[in-house]
């Protein structure tokens, strides 16, 4: 995977926000997951969503997918209210080990992304070529016909990304795509997403626990914590002062040459 030179955001003709949340709140009964969230995501922007389990990171993705309604506020994709099955949004789900007996090849999974929603027995013109194109774009051509369950985690993630790109989305939502991958595969997946957003202007929202693999490419960080939500650049958000405030417990952020370490969180029940 070669990284292309960074392109200025201004190259993208449509400068309106891909995703916009205004004064958005989400409650489950008495539980207030997050409140008064404002977010404007530009085309090609790479946003990392961080925070402990149960704070509402995956719920945020569900809101953007139109599967969960906001308690208050507005959420729009490309200037229109969110809706289920919006073709402008691609989704890479949390990694589940796929059984080798699932009767699926990478080719089949990507094909579902292309025409899996269509009713009736008719053929979809051009679907095969489209699948080949998508597999090639993520570098999965060589294992396109192997049983999906026998692929490595990194290979499965590439196939998942190919599937999510089937509708040529303007926004890619990734739920923990780096989970249980080794460092080399993590870097490969991040490089793939980075290239996509630079070459096609696809905005990326990635829910993750691992900040270091994405630190070189991430534009902004949304930290969803038990005591509030904070949006900003990694330098603004990942500081001892901000995280201590968000967790209401002493947290220390240590920067080394190899990345960031967040200390003190192991004492929290969520971790």
């Amino acid at each position: 995977m070669t990284l292309t030179e960074a392109v200025a955001p201004s190259r993208v003709a449509d400068v309106s926000a891909v995703l916009s949340l205004r004064d958005a709140s989400l409650h489950y009964g008495e539980r207030h997951l997050w409140e008064h969230l404002d977010l404007e995501l530009a085309p090609g922007e790479f946003l990392a969503v961080l925070g402990p389990n149960g704070a509402g990171k995956t719920s945020l993705l569900r809101v953007v997918l139109g599967l969960t309604a906001l308690t208050a506020g507005h959420v729009e994709i490309g200037g229109l209210p969110v809706s289920r099955g919006n073709r402008l949004v691609g989704y890479v789900p949390q990694h589940h080990a796929l059984s080798s007996a699932s009767g699926l090849r990478p080719r089949d999974l990507v094909r579902l992304g292309v025409d899996g929603h269509r009713w009736g027995p008719g053929r979809t013109p051009g679907a095969r070529a489209r699948v080949d194109e998508l597999l090639a774009a993520v570098g999965a051509t060589s294992y396109a016909d192997a049983p999906l369950g026998l692929l490595s985690g990194g290979e499965q993630q590439r196939v998942r990304i190919a599937q999510a790109l089937a509708t040529d989305p303007r926004l890619l939502l990734c739920d923990e795509p780096l989970l249980s991958l080794d460092i080399a595969h993590q870097q490969g997946v991040v490089a793939l997403l980075d290239a996509r957003r630079r070459e096609h202007g696809t905005a990326v929202v990635m829910v993750t626990h691992e900040i270091n693999p994405i630190l070189p490419v991430v534009d902004r960080v949304l930290f969803v914590a038990p005591h509030g939500v904070r949006l900003g650049t990694p330098g603004e958000i990942l500081t001892s002062a901000v995280l201590t405030e968000l967790y209401r417990t002493p947290v220390e952020v240590v920067r080394t040459s190899s990345g960031i370490a967040i200390l003190g969180l192991h004492t929290l029940p969520e971790h």
Binding site: L65, G66, L67, S83, R84, G85, N86, V89, Y91, P93, Q94, H96, S100, A101, S102, G103, L104, R105, D108, L109, L112, G113, D115, G116, H117, R118, W119, G120, P121, D132, T141, S142, Y143, A144, D145, A146, P147, L148, L150, L151, Q163, A164
Partner: protein, 293 residues
Amino acid sequence: MVAAGADWSRVINFDDYGSLFELARNSLIAGIAVALVAGLLSPFVMTRDLPFAVHGISELSFAGAAGALLLGTSVVLGSIAGSLIAALLVGALGTRARDRNSLVGVLMPFGLGLGVLFLALYEGRAANKFGLLTGQIIAVEDTKMGALLCICGVVAAVMALIWRPLTFASVDPDVAVARGINVRALSIVFMLLLGLTIAAAIQIIGALLVLALLCTPAAAAMQVSASARNITLLSVTFSTVSMGGGILLALGSEVPISPYVTTLSFGIYAVCRVIGIQRTRQGWAARPQPATS
């Protein structure tokens, strides 16, 4: 056929085969139609983890059929009623695998018990009684064949309509939901189709043996193929060969067709399993070279 010790001519006997074949024509047509549809549904039964649910639905279908026998109404209709009620209950209440399994575990003995009660009260031919559980010996009358063909036609037509979204919802539910597919509605529709197919299959091979047509064929196919299309083709072939072969072998015997069908079905599975083990040992994943075209 020389009989020594046990009278094997009662099990395999090809005397008067021509005339017997005429008698069995209806069974063969209905049996193959049921097997085609069952083979079509079988891969979904596997990917949606429904073998136990199939068994449970078939016991309630049996109860419905036995009830109809007692009341003197259509056994096929009774069977369909039992099937659909069970399929709806399992489909609506058992969305998660664990809930579903316990629900089926609760429904199954209840259905079987009801069926046993109805059969005990029934005073007609004994063959009718056991036929529902373990399969008919022969002879499907014309009206019944018509009903079975209708059921199979409806199931096949709806499957053709929902095939792609159902596949999406079955193998990749998270993304299917995100793409706007109504996974829950599809699940209910599939359970209803499954119920209809089970009701039809019971008329031929009996409530206890339905899994030989709805589970074994796809389980065998998945041992030897990783492609969704090939698994479906193999599954349909396996179920049809088991059913057709079973009926033809059973013709001259005094035994119901079920043991022939189940033995063929199991034999196919055993062979596929051995092939599958060898493939894994040689490296299933021996990756094909990058595509040349």
